[in-house]
């Protein structure tokens, strides 16, 4: 079960440094604002990350003179301070809000000082808006380069869920700079990365930009010994399938069911079996959770009951203790046991809750359909299952997810299904989703098969294209041409779908990454041998490797691999790679993602909802 600390695993870098760095920078920025009192307005999305690195008491401590904290929301602020400080993401919406505040003050004849702190960086468009609203001169701007939040010992998140939509749908490349800066920060802190690999257009751009930054800072990192031997940059759109599948490992399920937000989750009354909901931090420090997080859900119950029995046994030990032993027990072990007990009951509660939900929604049926889609049999049956799903209005997001899964695995829907499913969907969930479909089409998630796009035709065509330069042409992510996924062909090549034996990762399906990182690339240090797959992924031009010639890297560092997910990753993918690290032995993966995501979040990012 799980992996308590393995003696053979390389030591992980200390990421708490990142927290300290971000906190100190924020405090410095706040101290820059010279005034007796200031009120701090924080954007809702920044609250949780902020909470992870600095608590309110730090901000309110005398030296930083933050008087009151407000949430940035669309209503007038009732602040009496002479200074207003805004801590926001660089979004136009926020700029408008600030502008309305400042202009209201102007009308009221009030003069205050305003400071806007953008996190992680400011965008020109924001300043443009400030200028257009006529308040550019009234506010001063600053940047809080807080782009890396350690969620766990091996997981860094940039907490930028909008990266996915902004880049993969809108074609906005501004965040790439943020990614490059974050990578740059990592390399200054933990030494250069001797081996770099990447796949995907965005990965390539981020990589190039990052290199540019390094070049400018010449020499600073040169002398350092690398702590992390390999870095992989991966684009989300290379593998949508994994992200769209239901998750079956415990952590993934908790995320799907309760939504893990910034590394912590709100367990409602039905889990805590009291009348309050409880916020629980989920990371390696939670011993119980750490042991079950990567387990397939079906194993979790067994494990938990075993654990409960062990716990009981430990409690029971106190019988027959003499006074001295008892004293020892109470002072040393009891507290730990109590804590474990509390966590255990929470997770059992969570499991029950998940079970309840899953059986209610015919989880088995759903999984079966998903599996059928992945394996490519009973397509008609699956299609009508999806249709029924829509007709019964089970859940707009779930329905959408199944449609996308069908489209990707089948290389686009056949025109008849494409029309009828969309019609049904609009009838069920409202006409505004016409826009959702147009988004999905643009992102290549839900498309229509063109004539001659049937699977066999494509498979034969692709092999011809391999030698053809034209292969690169269809990859242009920014043309409105939907991308072809070629999922089936890839799956066949890599043996992604396996029977019942190997149930790692996502219900009988091995995440694409695992096969990439599972050795081939690492051993050969190139994409060689995977050429065809890479081409099928439409990433022919965007797969790269970069090795430094001199091998300064210690063997210790070469066992550490940083995986960067551009556009987010799911807990299942993380679990699968953790498993892989253990299986391949003596390797440890570290994860950097723009945000932890799941199928529902992906679909929501693509959805158009009425404001």
């Amino acid at each position: 079960m799980a992996f308590p600390h393995r003696p053979d695993a390389p030591e992980l870098p200390d990421f708490s440094m990142l927290k300290r760095l971000a906190r100190d920078q924020l405090i410095y920025l706040l101290e820059q604002v010279t005034s007796w009192k200031k009120d701090l307005f924080i954007e809702a999305d920044l609250m949780s990350p902020l909470d992870r690195i600095a608590n309110v008491s730090i901000l309110k401590r005398n030296q930083h003179e933050v008087d009151k904290l407000y949430k940035v929301e669309n209503k007038p602020a009732l602040s009496s301070s002479e200074q207003l400080c805004f801590l926001v993401r660089p979004r136009i919406k926020n700029m408008r809000y600030i502008a309305s505040l400042v202009n209201a003050d102007k009308v009221a004849g009030r003069t205050r000082k305003y400071k806007v702190i953008f996190s992680p960086q400011k965008f020109y468009a924001c300043e443009m808006v400030l200028e257009e609203e006529g308040i550019y001169g009234d506010v001063s701007c600053d940047e809080w380069a807080f782009s890396l939040l350690p969620l766990d010992v091996d997981l860094l998140s940039m907490e930028l869920p909008e990266f996915f939509r902004d880049y993969f749908l809108e074609g906005d490349q501004r965040w790439i700079n943020t990614v490059a800066q974050a990578l740059h920060l990592l390399s200054t802190l933990y030494g250069p990365f001797p081996n770099c690999y990447g796949i995907g257009r965005c990965a390539k751009m981020a990589y190039e930009l990052w290199r540019k930054l390094e070049e400018e800072e010449d020499g600073e990192t040169k002398g350092r010994r690398p702590e992390i031997g390999h870095i992989f940059l991966l684009d989300r759109d290379v593998d949508f399938v994994t992200a769209l599948c239901s998750q079956v490992v415990y952590e993934g399920l908790v995320d799907d069911t309760f939504r893990i937000k910034c590394g912590s989750v709100d367990f409602g009354p039905e889990v805590t079996s009291s009348d309050k909901s409880l916020k629980v931090l989920l990371n390696a420090e939670d011993k119980v959770f750490h042991e079950i997080r990567n387990e397939h859900f079906s194993n979790v119950f067994g494990f938990l009951s075993q654990k409960a029995r062990n716990l009981q046994a430990q409690y029971d030990r106190r019988r027959g203790m003499d006074i001295k032993q008892m004293k020892n027990f109470v002072s040393q072990e009891l507290k730990g046991l109590k804590q474990e007990h509390r966590l255990l009951s929470l997770h059992i509660g969570a499991c029950e809750s998940i079970m309840k939900k899953k059986t209610k929604q015919d989880f088995q049926e759903l999984i079966k359909t998903e599996h059928a889609l992945l394996e490519g049999f009973n397509i008609r049956e699956s299609t009508s299952y999806i249709e029924e799903h829509i007709d019964r209005q089970v859940s707009p997001i779930e329905s959408l997810r199944l449609m996308c899964l069908l489209s990707i695995t089948e290389n686009g829907l056949i025109p008849k299904d494409y029309r009828s499913l969309k019609t049904q969907y609009l009838q069920s969930y409202g006409p505004e989703h016409l826009l959702t479909f147009s988004n999905l089409r643009r992102a290549g998630l839900l498309t229509e098969q063109g004539p001659g796009d049937t699977l066999t035709a494509v498979e034969s065509k692709v092999s011809k294209l391999v030698t053809d330069k034209a292969a690169g042409k269809i990859t242009d992510a920014f043309s409105s041409l939907a991308k072809r996924s070629n999922f089936r062909a890839i799956s066949k090549k890599l043996n992604l779908v396996c029977g019942t034996g190997m149930v790692r990762g996502v219900g009988g399906f091995i995440p694409l990454w695992s096969t990439f990182l599972g050795g081939n690339v690492l051993e050969r240090r190139s994409w060689q041998g995977l050429d065809e797959v890479v081409r099928l992924l439409n990433c022919g031009d965007f797969a790269f490797t970069d090795m430094t010639k001199e091998d300064k890297a210690s063997s210790e560092s070469l066992r550490l691999i940083l995986v960067v997910f551009l556009g987010g990753c799911t807990f299942s993918e993380i679990s699968a790679l953790r498993f892989l690290g253990r299986e391949k032995g003596k390797r440890e993966f570290i994860f950097l993602t723009t945000a932890v995501t799941n199928s529902a979040r992906l679909m929501e990012a693509m959805s158009e909802v009425k404001a």
């Binding site: 136009i92 020109y124 468009a125 200028e131 001169g137 070049e215 920014f478």
Partner: protein, 834 residues
């Protein structure tokens, strides 16, 4: 102190006038001042000289030279005059040089001899020539008045907003008036002119004769007239050597004086200060300067050189080849303190402080004297004020020292005035410096005439950026008003330096400006763009976006090109948005896919209309349709508006050949209308529901007929309808209707859902009714749902289905189902045997 009053000259009983040197001029003038056209700007402004004017008509081949100097004689600009003959020079309030040409054209130059613009004083002048011109200052700005060869006057009260006004004719005017001036009263500009013994006042409408009250008889002509700085007073010099002084309205006489000099004076100006009782006129002849006022005697000075008078708010500046002097009435505070044998508290305090420095006990005596009179506060105030009026830093210091000394003996003396004075004097001394050459007096600086903002502007105009910034920092002005503004000006100036390479300019700007708030880079780039330096404009942008994107780091050439490709495009384009017309802008965008997508996003939030235009331009009907759909629920409130938006969207979709979307949109229009009707007829909330929800709501409301009608109209498939009705009826717990419905025809979704839904509503009884009708494949499931394990087992055994058997087995619990479990086990064993 003994000789401090040596240069004081009494005028009458109550006033003293003093003249002191501001600068010794080191301009090496080749010509005499009298050979030049001279113009000096008020408030210590610059001096313009146009040498070799045409009136001498010496050598036409020699081009005249226009020189501009600071008040201390530092050359600012020098240029060859290439245009036509100039009649008059003058400075506007913004320190622009106006040169009035004989042909009526007025050329405007900047402080550094840079040509700004030109305008004409009317067509009439073209034939008649300009005889004379005056530049005058009003509260609106600066005005120009001209006298044409036809002896008509034309004036414009504000050259910034040029409106020419032709004044009415003076009856019987045959020759040029002997003297004339522009008068400003009640916000209207007039002309006062003298012809022989008569005075005429011209306003817009009429020409009226005026007579100054109490004018001595025997005047046959007026030789000179002078209006005070504030247009309140008027002085007239007659051919009898008689000077009349009165109000400018010519209603009241102040005083008169007879100097017995019949020669026409070269210049006559008022010398007074606001709120002074005394008013005096300074009259200058070739070698003589006379100050006359309400006193029988006048003050006379001898002029060694050709001199020129510049009226100021509180005195007169007099400059010649070698010196630049200031003549003014000694201010009250100074007079009190420095007057010989003065016993004023301030004088005593100054004395006390001096004694104190000498470590003499007399200091105490003096102090006691003031304190006994209870005048210490007054004494301190006097010293502070007097310090302001002193020109020599030494004297300022000793007065301030005295004030600070006196302050020690006061309990509650507000420090502001002292602090402010110290600050002001430092600023004033700085700008009075020889190199800067702005001889401002304290009064001009303080009394709202010239605020610190204006002073900074003047420094900026003189390109004295470092000093301006130092002043801002010293006075702790808010960055936006102070440093940033100056830096922005500096950057704008910098981009105009054509001899410096783009790269250097951009880097310099970026280094200096960095992240200073309130600097508008768009202005700077616009300026560069305006100079035709598009490359530079882009570089400025790029530098800026670089510094913003990556912290302030020095640029490298490689990065620059890279950033330009990536980041710069967008910013430059956004800037161009304001410069280019829309069509061009969109065309440019088209070639920049990345910028385009950024711009689209920007528009989505900020400029929706532009977005529409953008799609239109591209013939992107698909997006255009989406745009209207979004508008139909985001922007429009009224149902008609929404339908209209949808109609536009549908049209766009048709153009985009997206028939599906078009049809869906049309359906939505129908639905909206229908929902509206339903709301009207049935009440309740229907708008914005999806079709499915609309039908459900109808069923829940008991409107089955309408629901069916709707289903037919919108061609809802059977399966959906059945699901829908099933859920709705179960929600209503209308079991009777449900049963009727189930029997209406064969269910397209089977009967298992019926069982499920009844169980969900905890109605086992109803569920059982349907369980029997469930098809064989799902029979086991249905039976298990209603809890009939035994029968389920039978069916499963009958089917000989292993999966079903184990399913049933897993439902067998405890003793009650023991028999059933055994039965299954037996059946299994049998099956295996076979």
């Amino acid at each position: 102190m003994d000789c401090y009053t040596a240069n004081w000259n009494p005028l009458g009983d109550s006033a003293f006038y003093r003249k002191y040197e501001l600068y010794s001029m080191d301009w090496d003038l080749k010509e005499e001042l009298r050979d030049c056209l001279v113009a000096a700007a008020p408030y210590g402004g610059p001096i313009a000289l146009l040498r070799n004017p045409w009136r001498k008509e010496k050598a036409a081949s020699v081009r005249p030279v226009l020189d501009i100097y600071s008040a201390s004689g530092m050359p600012l600009a020098s240029l060859l005059w290439k245009s036509g003959p100039v009649v008059s020079l003058g400075w506007s309030a913004e320190e622009e040089l106006l040169c009035v040409q004989e042909d009526g054209a007025v050329l405007v130059y900047g402080l550094h001899g840079d040509f700004r613009r030109h305008f004409s004083m009317g067509n009439e002048v073209l034939q008649n020539r300009v005889l004379d011109a005056r530049i005058f200052h009003t509260e609106f700005g600066s005005g120009v008045a001209i006298l044409t060869g036809a002896h008509r006057f034309t004036l414009s009260a504000n050259v910034g907003d040029l409106k020419l006004r032709r004044m009415p004719e003076v009856p019987g005017l045959q020759s040029a008036p002997s003297c004339w001036t522009a008068l400003c009263q009640d916000r209207v500009a007039h002309i006062l002119l003298a012809v022989g013994p008569d005075l005429y006042l011209l306003d817009h409408a009429a020409c009226s004769t005026v007579t100054p009250p109490g004018l001595a008889p025997g005047v046959s002509s007026f030789l000179q007239m002078a209006v005070s700085f504030t247009y309140r007073h008027l002085a007239l010099f007659t051919d009898t050597g008689y000077i009349w002084m009165g109000t400018a309205s010519l209603k009241e006489k102040l005083c008169e004086f007879n100097c017995n000099i019949r020669a026409a004076p070269k210049q006559m100006v008022w010398c007074s200060r606001p709120r002074s009782k005394e008013r005096a006129v300074v009259v200058a002849w070739e070698r003589r300067l006379m100050v006359v006022g309400d006193a029988p005697e006048s003050i006379q000075f001898v002029l060694d050189e050709d001199s020129y008078l510049v009226p100021e708010l509180d005195g007169v500046r007099i400059f010649s080849r070698s010196t630049h002097e200031f003549l003014h009435e000694v201010p009250a505070a100074s007079e009190e303190i420095f007057k010989i044998a003065s016993m004023a508290p301030g004088a005593l305090l100054l004395e006390a402080q001096k004694e104190y420095e000498k470590e003499s006990q007399k200091a105490d005596e003096y102090l006691r004297e003031i304190q006994e009179l209870g005048q210490l506060t007054q004494a301190v105030q006097q010293c502070i004020e007097a310090a302001g009026h002193e020109h020599q830093p030494d004297m300022q210091k000793s007065l301030l020292r005295a004030a600070s000394f006196g302050k020690c003996f006061l309990d509650r003396f507000p420090p502001d005035s002292f602090v402010r004075m110290c600050q002001d004097l430092r600023v004033l001394n700085a700008v009075r410096d020889y190199h800067i050459g702005i001889p401002l007096t304290y009064r001009k600086y303080r009394y709202k005439q010239l605020t610190i903002q204006v002073l900074l502007d003047r420094l900026v105009l003189r390109r004295l950026y470092p000093l301006a910034i130092q002043i801002c920092e010293y006075l702790r002005l808010p960055e936006v008003q102070g440093v940033s503004r100056i830096l922005a000006h500096w950057a704008c100036y910098k981009v105009q330096q054509k001899d410096v390479s783009d790269e250097d300019v951009a880097r310099a700007i970026n280094q200096k400006l960095g992240d200073t708030p309130g600097v508008s880079y768009s202005d700077i780039a616009a300026r560069a763009y305006g100079c035709g330096r598009t490359e530079l404009a882009i570089k400025v942008w790029v530098c800026w976006s670089m510094s913003h994107a990556q912290g302030s780091r020095p640029l490298r050439a490689g990065t620059l090109t890279w950033v330009r490709a990536r980041l710069g495009v967008f910013t430059v384009l956004l800037h161009l948005k304001n410069e280019l017309n829309r069509g061009d802008f969109f065309m440019t965008l088209r070639n920049q896919p990345m910028a385009l997508s950024l711009y689209r996003q920007f528009c989505k939030h900020q400029e929706l209309e532009t977005l529409k235009d953008l799609y239109n331009q591209d013939d992107n009907h698909q997006e255009l349709g989406s745009f209207h759909i979004r508008a139909s629920y985001a922007a429009e409130e009224r149902i008609e508006g929404r339908v209209a938006a949808l109609q536009t969207a549908a049209d766009a979709f048709y153009k985009a050949k997206n028939e599906f979307a078009a049809k869906a949109t049309e359906d939505q229009m129908r639905l909206l209308r229908l929902q509206r009707r339903l709301e009207d007829e049935l009440g309740g909330q229907f708008l914005d529901l999806s079709l499915h929800d609309t039908v459900t709501t109808l069923i829940l409301g008991g409107h089955n007929k309408r629901a069916e009608q709707l289903a037919r109209d919108f061609r809802i498939p059977d399966k959906r309808l059945w699901w829908l009705k099933l859920t709705a009826l179960a929600d209503l717990e209308d079991w009777e209707e449900l049963e009727k419905f189930s029997k209406s025809k064969k269910s397209p979704i089977g009967y298992l859902p019926f069982v499920e839904i009844c169980i969900k509503q905890h109605n086992k009884y109803e569920a059982k009714k349907y369980a029997s009708r469930v098809g064989p494949e799902q029979k086991v499931k249905a039976l298990l749902l209603v809890g009939d394990v035994a029968q389920a087992a039978d069916v499963a055994i009958e089917h000989r289905n292993e999966a079903e058997l184990s399913l049933v087995l897993s439902h067998c619990t405890g003793a009650t189902d023991g028999a059933t479990a055994d039965k299954i086990q037996r059946a299994r064993a049998q099956a295996q045997k076979k």
